[in-house]
Amino acid sequence: MIGEYLENLVNLVDAYYLQIFVNIGIAIIMALGLNLVTGVTGQLSLGHAAFMSIGAFTGAILTIKLGMPFSLNLICSGLMAALCGVVIGFPILRLSGDYLAIATLGFAEILKVILLNLDITNRALGLSVPLPHTPIPLPIYVWLTVLLVLAAMVLIQNSRFGRALRAIREDEIAAETMGVNTTLYKIQAFAIGAFTAGLGGCLYAHFIAYINPSDFGFSKSVDILNMVVLGGLGSIPGSVLGATLLTTAPEFLRFMERYRMMVYGALLVFLMIFRPNGLLGGVSIRKLVCKALGIKPGPRKPWHRISTRKAGG
């Protein structure tokens, strides 16, 4: 009953717009996850798409082989990706900067080769994914996940944990001196980032209905990194904006036909020249809103303090 009602609700939206909305939603989930790792914690990862592929293949296989209910499937995909994030995080998060970037890149390539050679992933032929087992339409699932991930990211960034992550980004040695267990925190951030990528991957697989290990290559990782950097490293509204812009730009620019991607590239270059910190890098949305309303930005709202105390134990 509810499923039917929601289905009708979704069908009210123009199918073409709906398609783009869902693509935006998945991009936002991916960007927010990477933003926590690269933007907030400052660990440059070039292998985010690899976690997406883990989520995508886990989700697809669970639906195909077990016919698992989709919500459970989604969580399993996220957990699987997070598990891989922890396992891979232990050795490679001891590295930093360029070395870490290369190591994550290497991990992504290794994973791609593994997926290309497993029977369960149908090798290089890829998997056609059937419809998910759920009465709720997929677009609603995607946007519910977006909201949940968004809320989680806001809570994390404003918690003691989030501040510790930022301390690591600013100065790892100083953070360690202040008693922050940097390796542990980095691995936790990495695992959360991987978890969201797993969610995004699972949603992507069921939405696009056909996945192939080659879809989650280096260029996909760079696409996601682009969204985070363009929006502004460490900024949640920035990641949302970056993901939205970079997903819709190719559609907006469609009228230019074959010159489209050239213009797209030029836009990126100009943006980086004129806003090197990203569109919303270093911009506080709260202050902007207060300014627009003509109120002085007061002290932070009480729930921040509550969450701080809780996280601090």
């Binding site: 123009d14 199918a15 073409y16 709906l18 398609q19 783009i20 693509n23 080769v113 290309l116 050679n117 090798r123 290089a124 032929l125 890829g126 056609s128 939405f207 696009i208 209905a209 056909y210 192939n212 080659s214 879809d215 997903t247 190719p250 559609e251 469609r254 036909e257 074959r258 489209r260 991607m261």
Partner: protein, 380 residues
């Protein structure tokens, strides 16, 4: 009140009429890449389609409507292809989509077309598991599963080869699937696979694989990958003094195979679905028209497949006397012995096409020469 309702019904009727044929046109969507890595498949397909639409409209269109192509570039990107398919269906109200020339994107677009009951006719997808995706999904390509069995018959029975060496590029979906088909076709024949080697796309050194193959003394090497690796593989074979030839699918069909392989690929064989030498009357006419329009350029496989795709759709629409995909879909499924410019096409009950003939080419004096035409017989 009754008047108001009847006006309302009239409006609804007019709106629904305009859905499939606004201003007397029937729209066909072109799905493919015009830029990016796979544009070399998309651009020629579109060229062929445009020629076909001209011919259809010159002959008066279909069911009194002119045919129009709606084009959009998908860059070979899957999410973007899904966006475009949705745009074609809900905005442009296309009656059918032709494309994508690659298997992967066809598999992304197919569920969307099936859901909206719009015909998808792929002019290029050769991988497995495409038409299984729905009742509205078709293709008009030469399938390896159709071409390989008669070719294996030819090699085993007519030429008398007994020992085959197989080389697969295991990070290439086309190669993995082709090897599977080849091995299945060889089952039950009086021949065996003596060596089964694996390489990767992008590899440069094949000495280990060739050493293994040489020890097994095969009659011929079957290589299912692409031309760059094919050329390097044969160079290594000649270097080690292994004097057998290579045979493979249209992944090897490129001038680069010859320019890169040189003397080493002399005698190598490839099979293709289209070759301009020794054409049928239909094909000869198309080649002439194409050359006249494109300053003497010869058409290739994708131009002919794009052309045939439009012609098949037009034929189905005429037979169904309707441009509504729900109606002409049934006629498209019944197409038999259709004399296309890329060969004779029959759609089987499972919607997989059978195409005949298969052209086996041999490299002689640095050029592809027609070795033989192998006819494909319809399975009873």
């Amino acid at each position: 009140m009754i008047k108001r309702i009847s006006v309302l019904i009239l409006i609804i009727f007019m709106v629904s009429m305009s859905v499939y044929g606004a201003a007397g046109t029937v729209k066909i969507g072109f799905m493919g890449a015009l830029t990016g890595d796979v544009a070399m498949f998309g651009i020629p397909t579109l060229e062929g389609m445009k020629m076909a639409v001209e011919d259809v409209n010159k002959a008066g269109g279909v069911n009194g409507q002119k045919m129009v192509i709606v084009e959009a570039d998908n860059r070979g990107d899957k999410p973007e292809a899904a966006n475009i398919a949705q745009k074609f269906i809900s905005r442009d109200r296309v009656a059918a989509i032709v494309g994508d020339p690659t298997t992967g994107i066809t598999k992304v677009v197919a569920p969307i077309c099936e859901r909206n009951k719009v015909v998808l006719l792929s002019a290029g997808a050769v991988g497995t598991g495409v038409v299984e995706l729905g009742q509205y999904i078709f293709r008009n390509t030469l399938l390896d599963s159709v071409a390989i069995p008669p070719l294996v018959d030819y090699f085993v029975n007519d030429v008398g080869y007994k020992k085959f060496a197989v080389v697969t590029s295991d990070n290439n979906d086309f190669s993995v699937s082709l090897t599977q088909i080849f091995k299945n076709a060889l089952k039950g024949k009086k021949a065996q696979i003596v060596a089964d080697e694996k390489i990767k796309d992008g590899d440069k050194d094949f000495s280990a694989q060739i050493t293994n193959i040489k020890a097994k003394k095969p009659d011929i090497i079957f290589f299912s990958g692409y031309y760059t690796e094919g050329a390097l593989l044969m160079k290594e074979a000649r270097k080690q003094g292994l004097n057998v030839n290579m045979f493979g699918g249209d992944g090897l069909y490129s001038p680069t195979l010859i320019s890169l392989g040189g003397k080493a690929v002399e005698g190598s064989m490839v099979y293709v679905g289209f070759f301009p030498e020794n054409p049928s009357p239909e094909t000869a006419k198309f080649i002439q028209a194409f050359k006249a329009k494109h300053n003497g350029k010869l058409p290739g496989l994708f131009e002919t497949q794009g052309y045939d795709a439009i012609m098949m759709l037009a034929e189905a629409m005429k037979r169904a006397k309707s441009n509504d995909p729900k109606k002409f879909r049934d006629e498209l499924a019944k197409i038999k012995d259709f004399k296309g410019v890329s060969g004779t096409i029959t759609i089987q009950p499972n919607r997989e096409p059978i195409k005949s003939p298969v052209y086996l080419l041999e490299i002689k004096d640095g050029a592809y020469k027609l070795k033989t035409k192998v006819d494909v017989k319809m399975k009873k």
